[in-house]
Amino acid sequence: MNGRDERLKHEHIMEDEHTRDGDEYSNDHGHEHGHSHVHEHGHGHDTGEPDELKSRARALQSLLLEKELISIEAINEVLALFETEVGPMNGARVVARAWADPDFKQLLLEDANEALDEFDFEIGEQHLTVVENTPKTHNAVVCTLCSCYPWSILGLPPTWYKSPQYRSRIVREPRTVLSEFGVELGSDVEVQIWDASSEIRYMVLPQRPPETDGLDEDELVEHVTRDAMIGVERLGADV
C-alpha cells in the first residue's frame, strides 16, 4: 500500500537497499509508454548497491550444498545437458524433416510425440503439439499464466517470452505484438494464439520458404529459426 521502499520481508534479514547489479546485464531498455512516469526496471544501471535477493539466494545455495541437496557437479551436468542436448536445433531438425517428408509432417501434426520417437534427442520429453502455419494461418505460442515453453524441443525461452509485455498482450493484440517483432500480416491471414495452460507444449511448424526448393533435410535445418517455431517470425510468407 504505502511505500516505495524495496525490501524483501523476511524476519531475519532486513537489509535496507538492494538494486540489481547493473553490470550483469547487457541491455539497457526502459519501458516508456509515452508518458514520463514509469517504473524502470533495472537493466544495465550500475548502482553499486548490494543486491539482497541475489546474495540471499547464494546463501541458500550454500546451505543446500551443505545439506547435499545439490552438488555443483550435478548442476554442471544439468547445464551441460541444456547446452548440448537441448535447444532450437532439435526443433529445427523436426521442422526440416517435416518440410522434406510429407508423411512425417502428417504424423507430426497428428501425433507429435510419436513423430519425435524417430529422433534420438536425449531430453526429458514433454507432451508436444505442433501447429502448422499456412498462407492463410499464422500461429504463435505463449503462456499467459507463467512462462511454459516447449523446452525439450526449443531449449530455454528467451527473456522476452517470459515478460509481462509478451504474456499480457499476445492473446489480445497479436498483430500489434508481431509487428514489434517485424512481422506484418495481411488481413487475409488468420492469427491463432496457443496459450500453454496445461503440461502440453505447443510448437509452430513454419511454412517452408520458397528459396529452399530442392534442399535436403540437412540443408533445410539452416533455414529454421527459433522465433519462427515460437511464431514471432514468419518464414515462407510469400508462398
Binding site: A59, I72, A74, L81, V171, P174, E180, I193
Partner: protein, 229 residues
Amino acid sequence: MNGVHDMGGMHGFGPVDVDDDAAFHDEWEKAVFGVEKLLRYQSIYGVDEKRHALERFDPVTYLDSSYFERWALGSETLLLETGTITEDELSAAIEAHDGSGLFELDDSETDRDRVDELVELVHEAFRSDASFERDPVEPQFDAGDAIVVRNDHPAGHTRCPRYVRRARGTIHEVQGTHVVPDEAAHGTEVAEPLYSVRFEATELWNDDTDGDAVYIDLWERYLNPADPE
C-alpha cells in the same frame, strides 16, 4: 487465484523488449536454474506447487522481480514450507555466507555417492518422458462441442485464466485425462479430461483485439455445456 500473474489481456506493460533475447543474463541466473532443476528431479515439490508459490508472492514482488528472481524466491518458500530447510538454518547460512557465487563454493566435501546419485537423477530425468496423463476418464465433451467457461474465482491455484471465464468456445480436441493443477498445487492428485478449446478473439475481447482465435487447454471442471439442458 486472481493474481497479477494472470496477465492475459492486461494493458499497461508497454512494448515487448524483443532484443532481450537471451535465456540467461549472468552466472547467478544459471545457478538458480541448475539448483531448481536438481531440486525438482528430487521431487521435493511438484511443478504446480512451484507455480503457486510464485503466484502467492506479494503482487509488487511478483511484478518487480525477474523470472529467475521469482524462481529463487519460490524455491526458498517451498524449501521452508516443506521443512526441507528451517528458518534457523537459512538465517545462519545468510549470516555465514561470504558472498561467493555457487560455482565458486567448495564442493569437495560432498559425499561422492551422493554426487553420483544426483547426477544420475539428472540423466534419468532426461531419459524419461513427461508423465502427467492418467488412466482415462470418460470425457463429457467431444471435439466440436460448444462450451462456456465457468466463472469461478478460487482463492487457490488454477490454470483457468480470467480472460476466458464466461466465454463461449468450441472443443478443438480432447487431450486425454490429466492431473488437475488446481488440486495438485495443494497436495492432492486428481485427474480429469483436458480439452484444447478454441475461442474466437472477438468472443474474448469484443472489438478490442486484432487477433482471430485463441486456443487454450482447459480441464473439464472449468467448463459447462454452452446450452445446458
